[in-house]
Amino acid sequence: MKNGMKNGMKNGVKNGVNMRLGRIGAAEGASAALAAMAVSGIFTFETKLLYEHGNSTYITLPLSVLLSLGIFALAAALMRKSGSKNLGELYKRAFGLAAPLFAFALSLMAVYSAYAPLSQFVRAMHGLFFDGVSYSRIVVFTMPAVVFLALLGFEAIGRTARLITPLLIAVLAASTAASVSEFEAYRLYPLPGNTAWGMAVQVLEETCTFLPALLCLLINADGLNGLKTAERAGRRAAAAAALICFVSQLALALCYTYRELGELFMPMFRINYLNKFEAHFMRLDKLAHMMWLGGGMIAGAYYIYSAARLFAQSFEIRDIRPPALGGAALAALMIMIEVEGKDREAFLALKELLNGCGFLLLALPVLLAGIAAALRSKRGLTNAKNNA
């Protein structure tokens, strides 16, 4: 196997790989990243923690998106400076032999980002839709679409996202619009509901919800017609995600007080429950939920593919399918541990830790890699000049 791998590399990775990267444009890339950010930004949170100190998520979440965008832009600028075509390449240039280690960590974070919304959806399915059905069955019904999409590759993910993300946004808008009659300004109070310090911490913590989606664009930058398109896609996705987060969180805040939000599981699903006039369409919130689940599947596939791509690139695996299948299996395993596992408590503690410092885990290596790679390329240039 090793020989095969070496030969493949000797002949040039391009000739022997099956990365299923393809080429997509800014619109498709932005759609995929937006689906991931919107789903993560609306459905992944543990509400108890999020609304613990009041309701200010309509301020903090858009700020988190903007902070993520800032880190993304910085990483992209450093990549350009170091001449890296994708994030994996940047890691190689920056960390040399240690690159696979860092890439592995980022891949794990991407798989974690896939797990987070999917786990919420599985729990929602179990609690709200399929009474008396085991979690494992729901996972078995949820994961095949994610795996299928991840195996089809980045191009298919981008194009599917381009098809479905506008519908996702339309459904979100429709759900929000349907609850307008129940909006009450008093629910926003105490305004802004959190101390400045608390809000700042929340902004930092929630950055790890949005940053992976943007970093995945950089992981697949060469499939996006280059870094420039990836940057444009990231900017568009972040702008739209900030807007969506702001509108949806504001709508939630106008519908429920912070105390209730803290007790509701997936409050977006309950946004129409306040409506006293329960026309038939108000009951279609379950259908809306399915649309969001579709977005969750795309988001999951996007994260898993990106994790697999980075992993394959770093460990010189020439086929995307084994790491993608592995990533999906890991995500499914994490879901099962969370909902039914014996070590649930330990896992939840780890999850809390990741939620708290995930931001550092994500941002620091990227920034360090960028700086190191930029310095190395500069040194290389100087050496070349001296030699000349």
């Binding site: 095969g4 299923r20 800014a26 399929f130 019904f141 999409l149 089809l152 191009e155 599947m297 795309i298």
Partner: protein, 571 residues
């Protein structure tokens, strides 16, 4: 480890994808590719003498005195090496002067050319051989003649079906009225009916079918390549495209696939449907990757925008490639009707298709898992209607869908009026009887009927069948896992379509990927200029159906505003 290697090998890991694809060019394309495109664009602009640029150059010059030179120039102009439709006939006249006849096969009446032009030129007319200037012209027994010295006018006349006679030493050509072809065999397009617009359809005669297209596409760059279809029975086919407009990589790919199809050694190829199977991208895909049509106007519309078409001997259907979802869902009627009406018709069709695909599955999911989504009124009616039905609801749905297909199939296989009668009997009597016999409930019957009607809205027959497969899949998914499984199935369906390519062009363009085409797919574009911004597309072609299906961004070759796409094979 060896075993593991083998396992990987068997699982087809490490194998490159190997699919052919045409590049879309988005604004974010890397600089290298842009430069390459520019270079190609320039090259194509200088090198090609065909197309509009070629025509303009040629128009400036007149007819040469030398027959050889004229032949050379017209051969170049008409791409005669590839385009076997243009006939160049050198004649040794009775007067000893060299003459050249150029006419378009199929457009000009071959018998008229042979009997009243070639024979008098070689044998002289019966009235006696008058020597001197004008004697040869006089011997041609065609009443309507015209002298023309301009190159472009002569070319235009040839395309229209007239015959051009060049005599050595003359600076003018004699244009002879030889237009005409056998039109008795042309019948109406039975399977793609339109209320407004042309009614004629292709015939089994290849020459007639090509001529039908030529009568609409009267451009010099229309190339018709005749070749074998690949079967051992020696059926021929014609590959039609516009030289300089169609993407060269696309044409090369089609030719390669045709060649490979021939190499497969099929014993008999007797229909365009068989050719389709020999050349398509994904043989196991339920969705077609070529558009089969029996309408010459439709083929012409697609050709004008750079697509290619194959017409096979013995088959009244042309295959248009590449085909996208929008092309398969649009009808020529959309363009023949006025814009608001066309848009409305299209919207109704899309809704019909959506209902056809989703409604049975959705209903099964809701009725089996999420009853709270049904209104109280529907619930109580449904319960009542299913009171005495013995089979489970999803099974009932599948059974009725099968019965619907059965009625449809039976209706199609029997002659005209009997087929219609079967449809009526099947629909009314069988439905009523099924309800009376407690085999079906009325609500499910309505849903199946609605879904069936929606399915029939799809203009393309293969797509109709594919849609019914998917519909069945959605029903089964909904049965197994309610809305959860239905959502998964829908996402997989969308992903499958997003991944599918027809001759390198993404199946879902112009939506996914989003293309330069600024028009939304649902709204029908205008007939006139102004489809793309900044003159990205030639306005004259924008009204055609094809311009709206989005693949035009992949097809126009570089000299048309630098919008070329370059083929490549996926690593």
């Amino acid at each position: 480890m060896k075993g593991f290697d083998r396992l990987l090998e068997k699982l087809n890991f490490d194998a490159p994808d190997g699919r052919f694809e045409l590049f879309e060019t988005e604004a974010g394309e890397p600089y290298e590719a842009l430069r390459e495109r520019k270079e190609r664009s320039e090259k194509a602009g200088n090198g090609s003498k065909t197309g509009k640029a070629g025509m303009k150059n040629a128009e400036k010059s007149g007819i040469s005195r030398s027959v050889e030179r004229n032949e050379r120039r017209f051969r170049a102009f008409f791409n005669a090496d590839e385009n076997s439709d243009v006939i160049f006939r050198r004649v040794d006249t009775w007067a000893g002067r060299d003459a050249l006849l150029i006419y378009m096969n199929g457009m000009a009446d071959a018998k008229t050319v042979s009997d009243f032009v070639i024979r008098p030129l070689t044998e002289g007319n019966g009235a006696g051989r008058i020597r001197g200037r004008g004697a040869l012209e006089s011997s041609v027994q065609i009443a309507e003649q015209e002298r023309e010295s301009r190159f472009f006018k002569v070319a235009e006349a040839i395309i229209e079906g007239r015959t051009a006679l060049f005599l050595d030493g003359e600076r003018t050509a004699l244009l002879l009225e030889t237009r005409g072809f056998d039109s008795r065999s042309v019948t109406t397009a039975e399977n793609e009916r339109v209320v407004r617009g042309p009614q004629e359809g292709f015939t089994e005669n290849l020459r007639t079918s090509v001529t039908l297209v030529r009568r609409i596409v009267k451009t010099a760059d229309l190339v018709v390549c005749y070749r074998s279809a690949g079967g051992k029975n020696g059926t021929g086919l014609a590959l039609l495209y516009r030289k300089g407009v169609a993407n060269e990589k696309l044409i090369a790919e089609i030719e390669k696939r045709l060649e490979a199809g021939s190499a497969k050694g099929a014993r008999i190829v007797s229909s365009s449907g068989m050719i389709e199977q020999l050349i398509e991208d994904a043989p196991f895909s339920p969705l077609p990757q070529t558009l089969a049509t029996e309408r010459p106007d439709r083929v012409a519309s697609f050709l004008m925008n750079g697509a290619a078409a194959i017409i096979a001997e013995g088959s009244p259907f042309a295959l248009i490639m590449p085909a996208t979802a929008a092309a398969l869902l649009n009808s020529p009627e959309d363009v023949y009707m006025r814009r608001p009406l066309g848009t409305l018709m299209r919207a109704v069709r899309y809704i019909g298709v959506f209902i056809s695909l989703i409604l049975p599955g959705y209903f099964v999911a809701v009725a089996m898992y999420h009853q709270g989504l049904l209104s109280t009124e529907v619930l109580s009616t449904l319960i009542k209607s299913r009171e005495m039905v013995f089979e489970p609801l999803p099974f009932e749905m599948i059974l009725l869908l099968f019965v619907f297909q059965l009625i449809r199939e039976a209706g199609m296989r029997v002659p005209g009026s009997v087929g219609q009668a079967i449809g009526v009997i099947g629909g009314l009597i069988l439905g009523q009887a099924a309800v009376s016999a407690n085999l079906a409930s009325t609500v499910i019957l309505i849903i199946v009927a609605l879904s069936g009607l929606g399915n029939l809205c799809i203009p393309d027959y293969s797509t109709q069948i594919a849609a019914s497969y998917f519909r069945l899949g959605f029903v089964i998914a909904a049965w197994l896992g309610g809305l959860l499984a239905l959502t998964g199935a829908l996402v997989c369906f969308a992903a499958y379509m997003a991944d599918l390519k027809s001759f390198g062009v993404p199946f879902l363009s112009p939506i996914a990927p989003k293309t330069f085409s600024k028009r939304p797919m649902l709204l029908r574009g205008g007939i006139g200029r102004g489809g793309g911004k900044g003159g990205k597309r030639s306005g004259a072609f924008d009204g055609s159906e094809y311009a709206e299906y989005g693949a035009d961004d992949w097809l126009n070759t570089p000299h048309k505003g630098g919008k070329g796409r370059f083929g490549r094979r996926r690593a």
